[in-house]
Each structure stands twice: as structure tokens, then as C-alpha cells.
């Protein structure tokens, strides 16, 4: 699906970004020496367990953590002044919270006007219809369910048509219909040439949506690759059905995969299921890191005991 995409313009450049939180006279390293680049048209999935630093990274990118509160350099749309390009960014926080006495249409009107656009009832109504909240437009947000809040959160993030969309765990709290909506939104936005960053715990979301993946563990980048690179190194399971019955073929690499797909098409067999090994690869990265991490912890404990 993404093979034809061109990732040309540099949208984000991060160089040696670190963030330390001070809590009860203790320093917590949320991010350590992160360097990466994001190009236009990419869908970058930021994957990592709880406490990996995903939200901190997104807060830095959106300017919620301002310059001076972290070390390193962040350049977005070729400028280090995040404030000047915020109108080009849309952000959905994790489990978004809003002012409790504001209605859905007032929030969207605010989101539109604060980004420098003129107030436009049609745009607000269209967006409310798009996220299926038109009938609740005059309802106070405090009365919304979790899924509805997530949808109004998405609406306020995209109403001003941002060039860069940043979503912090956009699927959390959504029912299958809501998930479908987010998936469609990400696909549609990507086809318009916009850049999307989203964080998730879910490996399947990464495989289904992303062009690139960045795995964060304990504030460090463990892996940064395109999905095509991952696909090239992964095996594939292809389940097909013909007149003779069902059969499963395991392709060891992408070349073997495409050769077999050609054969299937030639023989007019029906494909039932294609499963790539990307998820397994990512899971393996996780496992290895945890094992290494535990080993390091063990060494540190022994060292402390000796001391």
C-alpha cells in the first residue's frame, strides 16, 4: 500500500533530545539522547511500554513542554520556535480532558479560531458530522462518554487541517466502530499528503497503519525503521484456498512472498489470510531489551551490594 509513497521533505528533526523530571529530589530520565527524523507523508508509529517516554516525546513535539525545559534540539517545519508553527500541528492527548462547561461546538469553534482561522459554523458542523457528534453539538463535554470525548478530541485536533497530526494513543477507549473511524481518518489524512505521528501499545496498529516505526524503551530509541525494511526481513504466512482445499505457505522473505503471490494469482487461488512476521520481530525486540535490561539491573544490584 505504501510502496509508492515519497518521503521527501524533512518535517521533524530531533537531535540529542533528553528530558529529566525532578520528583521528590530524585531525577527521572524520561528521555535520553533521542535523535530521529520524520519526513513528509510518513505515518510514524511510536511504540513502547508504559513509562517508555512516548507521551513526554509527544509533549515536546507539540510544545507543551517548551524549549528550555528539555535539552537537545527539535526542529519542526525547519524552525526551532515551536510556537510559530503550532497552527500547523494537530494534537490529541491520551484520554483527553476538556473544560467541563463547554459544549462540543464551542470547543471546535475555539480550536478553529485560536489557530488563526475565521469562525465558520459550516466547518464546525461538518466536523461534528464527521465524528458522528452532530446531534450532541450543544451538549456539555462533561456529559460525554469516554469514546465521545476521544472523538471530539480528534475533531479539535484536525478541524484546522494541520500538516502534522500527533495522536497519543488514539485508539484507547474506543469501540470497534470508533477504531474504524480513527483508522480511516489516519488513512485519509495520509493520502492527502499529511504527516502523522501516533503512539500506541498495540503492535497490530503499527502493522496495519504505519509506514515507519520507532520503538522507545526506557526513554531510549530501541529501533527506528520503515515497515518495508521490517517486511524485507520478516517471514510471511499465506493461507490460500483452491479446489483441492486449504493450504498454508511460509515465505522466508519478501522476495519469496511476492513470488508466491504471483503464483497464487496465476493459479486463481483465493487468499484467506496473510500474516507477516513484523509483529513477531517487534515482540522479539521487546523481549531482548527486557532481558538485557533485567541483566543490567542484576549487574547494578550486585555492584551496589559490593559497594
Amino acid at each position: 500500500m505504501y510502496e509508492q509513497k515519497q518521503f521527501q521533505d524533512k518535517i521533524i528533526t530531533a537531535k540529542s533530545v533528553s528530558k529529566v523530571y525532578k520528583k521528590n529530589f530524585r531525577s527521572i530520565h524520561a528521555l535520553e539522547d533521542l535523535s530521529f527524523e520524520v519526513f513528509s507523508n510518513q505515518i510514524l508509529g511510536i511504540l513502547g511500554p508504559n513509562g517508555a517516554g512516548k507521551t513526554t516525546l509527544l509533549k515536546i513535539l507539540t510544545g507543551i513542554i517548551p524549549k528550555g525545559r528539555f535539552t537537545g534540539d527539535i526542529s519542526i517545519f525547519n524552525t526551532e520556535d515551536t510556537n510559530s508553527i503550532k497552527h500547523k500541528i494537530g494534537f490529541l492527548p491520551e484520554s483527553p480532558e476538556f473544560f467541563k462547561n463547554i459544549t462540543a461546538s464551542e470547543l471546535l469553534d475555539f480550536a478553529l479560531r485560536i489557530s488563526g482561522n475565521l469562525s465558520n459554523t459550516k466547518t464546525v458542523d461538518d466536523m461534528l458530522k464527521h465524528v458522528n457528534l452532530f446531534h450532541e453539538r450543544n451538549e456539555k463535554i462533561k456529559n460525554f462518554s469516554k469514546g465521545m470525548r476521544q472523538r471530539i478530541g480528534i475533531a479539535q485536533a484536525i478541524i484546522h487541517s494541520p500538516e502534522l497530526l500527533i495522536l497519543d494513543e488514539p485508539m484507547s477507549g474506543l469501540d470497534p466502530q470508533g477504531r474504524r473511524m480513527v483508522i480511516d481518518l489516519i488513512h485519509n489524512y495520509s493520502t492527502e499528503g499529511k504527516t502523522i505521528l501516533f503512539s500506541t501499545h498495540d503492535l497490530d496498529d503499527i502493522e496495519a497503519l504505519c509506514t515507519h516505526v520507532l520503538v522507545l524503551v526506557k526513554g531510549k530509541i530501541l529501533l527506528q525503521k520503515s515497515l518495508n525494511e521490517l517486511r524485507a526481513n520478516s517471514s510471511f504466512l499465506i493461507e490460500t484456498e483452491s479446489n483441492e482445499g486449504k493450504s498454508i505457505y511460509k515465505a522466508e522473505n519478501s522476495t519469496a512472498f511476492w513470488e508466491h503471490m504471483y503464483k497464487i494469482r496465476k493459479e486463481s487461488n483465493r487468499i484467506i489470510r496473510v500474516q507477516s512476521g513484523i509483529t513477531e520481530q517487534l515482540e522479539q525486540y521487546y523481549r531482548e531489551e527486557n532481558e538485557v535490561g533485567e541483566g543490567k539491573n542484576e549487574e547494578r544490584r550486585k555492584h551496589d551490594e559490593k559497594a
Binding site: Y21, T62, G63, I64, I65, N83, P93, P96, N101, F110
Partner: protein
Amino acid sequence: MKKLKPSRILVLSTLLTRELIRDKVFLSLSGAAVLLVFASLILNEMVVGIQVKATKDLGLSVMNFFSLFIPIFLGINLVSGNLNNKSLYVIFAKPVTRTQYLLGCFFSVLLAVACGILVITLTIFFLSFLQGQTWIAGLLAAAYLTLLEMTLILSFAIFFALITSPQLAMFLTLLTYIIGHTLQQAVLIVHSSSNFVLKYIIIICNTILPNLEFLNKKQEIIYRLPISFSYYFNATLYTLSYSVLIFIFCVFLSRRKEL
């Protein structure tokens, strides 16, 4: 000024004012204030010959007392509450700086205070009209001076909300209000005192905290004594310069605040 972008502050203030005036606390406070002003009708049954004076006296006290609760409850909750939950993520991810947000908070609470004062002013005017007296100039003067006083209290409320917990901020703001009103008398008392420690504490308080009694002209207004134009000018200048100074501290503190 160009960097502050007044249009953005206006958009933000509109949103925050809507949030405040729909708050149950604001509606309850305004309702209670109106009821208390109407209670002067009962008081009038107990006094003879000074019914209008009693209405004015009680009305202006209610105006001052209830206006105080708006910056204390709503102002502190708006700043402190939102800093501690995630509703500010949505705001700060948009083209809004922390200074713009604080200014938005400041103007929206001030507008809510003005709305509260307007409701009480109209109630007092209505009651005094019922008692056969039209009282406009004095009432407007009292409303204006209350607004100035609450501007000062609001800047202190925001300052305390940024440095401490909401409960402690409410207590400290209330303490500032009380000290601000008693400081003038305390200075006069310690002037002749031999206790140096007390003397210095009062001098320090007098230097740091605002003299709120300077903005209290209730007696002059009720007894229709003349108040010079220069007084209003000085009172406005005093309030503005004090509030701007405190606000600069607030901006500095908010930049250091971790979200």
C-alpha cells in the same frame, strides 16, 4: 504586545468566561448575593428612618464579600485545577503561550467578577428604587472600586495558585484580603509600639502587601461625601501597577511549571 496577540487572548478569554459563568459555584454565589441583598427588606422592618441607608450598607457589604469569592474559588480553580489535569494539553498544543493563557484566565475571571458585581448593583438599584430613592452615581463608584479591589485580589490568587496547592492558595488569598484591610490601622498602632519585631513585620507586610483600605470608600459613598477625581485616578494607577507587577511574577512562575 504584537507577540502577546490580543486576538488570541480574546478568543481564550471568551472560552474561559463561558466556562466560569456556567459554573455552579458562580451561579450559587450570585444567587446567594441577590438573596442577601433582598434580606435588607427584612432588616428594614427593624430600623426606623434609615431604611435606605440600611439597604445601601448591606448591599455594598454583600457586593464586596461575594465578589471576593469569585477570584478565590473560581480563579484559583481555573489556574490550579487546570494545571493539574490534562485540559491544558489541548490548549497548549494550540498556538497559545503560557503568558497568553494566564492573561486569558485573568481577564475571564475579571469579567466574571464584573458580571457578579453588575447583578448585585442592579439588585441594590432596584431595591433603593422601591424605597423611593434613585442611587446611581454612588452605586457605580462603589462597583468600580470593588472591581479594582478584586483585580488586586485576583492577581494574588493567581500568584498563590501557581506556587502552592489550591486549598492553601485560597487561604493565603483570604489572608491577603484581611491583612490588606487591617494594615493601615496596624501601622498606626505599631508606630508608637516599642516591640521592634512586630514593628518590622508590619513594615515588611506594608511594603509587600497592598493597602486595600485605600480602595474602601464605603462610608463616603453611603453618606454622599465628595470623592475627588484624582482619587479615582490614583486608585486605578495603584491597582494597575500592583497587578502588573504581580502578574510579571506569575508569568515567570508559570514558565517554570512542569506540565
